[in-house]
Amino acid sequence: MEILIDRSSPTPIYLQICQQVRGMIASGALPPGFRLPPERRLAAALGVTRGTVLAAYRELRADALVDARVGRGTSVLAQRFHAQPSPAGDVPWNQLFRAAAARPQDPLVRDLLELSERTDVVSFGIGLPAPELLPVSTLHHLLDEVMAEAGAAALLHSPTEGHTPLRETLAELMAARGIRCGPAEVLVVSGSQQGLDLAARAFIDPGDPVVVEEPSYFGGLQAFRAVQARLLPVPADEEGMRTDVLESLLRRQRPKLIYVLPTFQNPSGHVMGLARRRRLLELAASFQVPVLEDDPYSELRYEGEPLPSLKALDEAGVVLYLSTFSKTLFPGMRVGWLVAPRPVVRQFALIKQSSDLHSSTPGQFLVERFIRRGYWAPFVRASRSAYTARRDAMLEALAAQAPEGMTWRRPEGGFYVWGRLPNGVSMTRLLGAAASAGVTFLPGRPCFIDEPGGEFVRLNFSHPSEERIRDGVRRLAAAIASSTERPRAGTPAPIETRPIV
């Protein structure tokens, strides 16, 4: 077993060891049953501390690649996907996949998207705008205008950075959100998911740390995991990310990025307070860590006073601001945008060029015209009033129907109610019961990193009508009631050690 340590590499040494052993297991160089050297011996051979080797072995155990037994040391486990000696021509895929791609990832979003198309199911699962609000007839007129004026240009290639008039329009839209920027600081992306992907690829090498809130948006976590980031969760409370915890973490670690959704956070619905916002920016500036602010929902505020975005407060130029039309106008066109200093926009554009050349040209023409013709502000007003009614319908239905012990937050904006199930509900059973009752929701688990999060549910209220919301809450309440496990006699109730988020 040969391991090479590169001390000049920013990848921590324990991860270097872990990655190389993982590679040798994947390639079959270390067969199942192979005993890894004892920690002390490997540490001496590599000239590292025993703790470093311990940490590497711990990672390998967590990935179920090795097993440690007292007295027998650490040995390689049989891999579920380990290629058996194969007849000529069979490709040993799991040896070929990149380390990052070979790890199982959650197909949750895909499944929820599929379910949201079914009419017999009330879907609280996914964050879709209300279909009734989609400005279909406006778009159809705008399409006629675009084709008459721009003709084939609206169907051809457009610049990687985005259709220039759209970048100008977005810069003006940013001014309305208190953010001063020019068109050159705007990059159009194929939905904000692409913005997350570009950020992950631009900043993160395997093993690099990224600070995230816990819980956080799982699409963001997914983008960072895809580049093998090391996620450093910071707990969030009613005021958003705990900046005191962040500070002590920044004193010990050098993260490449801080990822945060300060306004109507997904999934929790929290709004980061003004003092926390300022403190976060101070810390980011003094520790020189860029902040990726993900802001899909801030225009959808149903009560209370708006707070300035991090980008609007950013004097040091540390914030990369990401937003999207997917939660307001129409998700299907995949138009989002990033506002960032020019060097960042230039670098992201280079990566975007190699990932999809540019975003759909007709979609960009339509969005640009929609805003320029003054449809945007009235549209957002109409959305706010419709969603206020839907949120209220969900809160009222929960108050009337929810089983005892269930708690939830009243969100001031955004798309979701974040709820906590009563003690003793089995999520596995609930998923089954909800599916047969014809209601879907997002289980909290994929939004967490360290915490299990198994008792949380995220309920979307923007997509179903008020009537469907009432119906769906009724179904959900019944499903929860039928999924409660009675504490077995003689077994003490589990001790709750988790803070309420």
């Binding site: 000529a88 021509g89 069979d90 490709v91 070929l96 990149r98 990052a100 791609a101 990832q105 959650d106 197909p107 979003v109 895909r110 998207l113 599929e114 879709l128 009734e132 989609l134 279909v136 778009l139 159809h140 399409l143 006629d144 084709m147 003709g151 084939a152 169907l155 051809l156 290639h157 457009s158 194929s190 692409q194 992907d197 690829r201 631009a202 900043f203 993160i204 090498d205 997914q222 895809a226 490449k256 020189q288 129409f330 998700p331 299907g332 066109m333 995949r334 200093p341 230039r346 280079l350 990566i351 060029q353 190699s354 990932s355 999809d356 975003s359 759909s360 040209t361 007709p362 979609g363």
Partner: protein, 405 residues
Amino acid sequence: MDIVLARRMEVVRASDIRELLKLTSRPSVISFAGGLPAAELFPAAKIAEAARRVLIEHGARALQYSTTEGHPPLRAFVAERMNRLWGTGYANDEVMITTGSQQALDLTGKLLLDDGDEVLCESPTYLGAISAWNVFRPRWVEVPTDDDGMDPTALEQLLDRCRRPKLVYVVPNFQNPSGRTWSFARRRRLADIAKRRGVPVVEDNPYGEVRFEGEHLPAIASLPEAGTVISLGTFSKVFCPGMRLAWVAAERNLLAKLTILKQGADLHTSTLDQMILAEYLASHDLDADIRRVASAYRERRHAMIRALEREMPEGARFSRPQGGLFLWVELPEAVDTRALLADALQHEVAFVPGDSFFPSRGGRNAMRLNFSAMPPDRIEEGIHRLGGMVREALARAHDETLVVA
């Protein structure tokens, strides 16, 4: 503040050529540099009509999120068409719609490539693949390639020397940049070698449908010798490039992985664009569109070859593709096409210098010419100017040699 980028970004740099070619969007420039299909040949009005119908009839659905794998009727269309034209046997659920074929390349790289893994490719190879995969820092292994495709003996020898060969990338029909089409025999040899060695083939076929002479040859993915093949195709060359609609087809376990990677990259491809295309395909004959485009391109290629025969000095070689968008010119060794480009831009002619298509080095005396985007009279004028510059460059090189001697 100083921004600390990932080390991977060391290889992601703006290309000087691309900067130079930005100047070529002026209408006065005769550009052979782009990879664009001819704008005037797109059925723009009919596409607009399809878009209008989609918005009126399915507006709410067309603007919502949709599944990562793509619009089901479109996936079915692609599978049926691939199987009919290229002899493959893909099921509908072995096809995923991507945001342009650039995304399909990117996802394939994300799926397979780690630092230092080997990618075997034709020499020269497609620039978009080089840029898509360079971010994963693979080791490029260029396989000697002649007019019939990769040299199978050389491929075997190079594979012997590879440590972690992850894929063989080929564009067997009217390759970009060379315009070459692989012979049937070479397709079979590649399929056999790749299968024996357990190395997947990425078969990219963006131009195959635009054939204006001869008969289609079967896809490598369709051959009985073939092992695992990932097939890429696109609507950009035959429908409308601005919509970013392409596909990847592969066996199910691979497609499942690619789907999750795409979900992390952009969730899904524009629903509206996919539905517009599906609507268009349901009411129009795509084959008739392609015949119309191909016949215009045949005329343009013919004009370019005639002009090259007339204008280029002795010692220049060029390919005579039976389809696609590009042809490849090799000039006498003494001509450096990068230097020539600076000259050409002064004379308002643009092309892409050959060395852009070699991951390591080579092609200093070659150039790629696109013949699809300019009408025949502009092509003749452009080649006339280029021919003059090449002759001057040769004369200068000759003088310099004399001085040194």
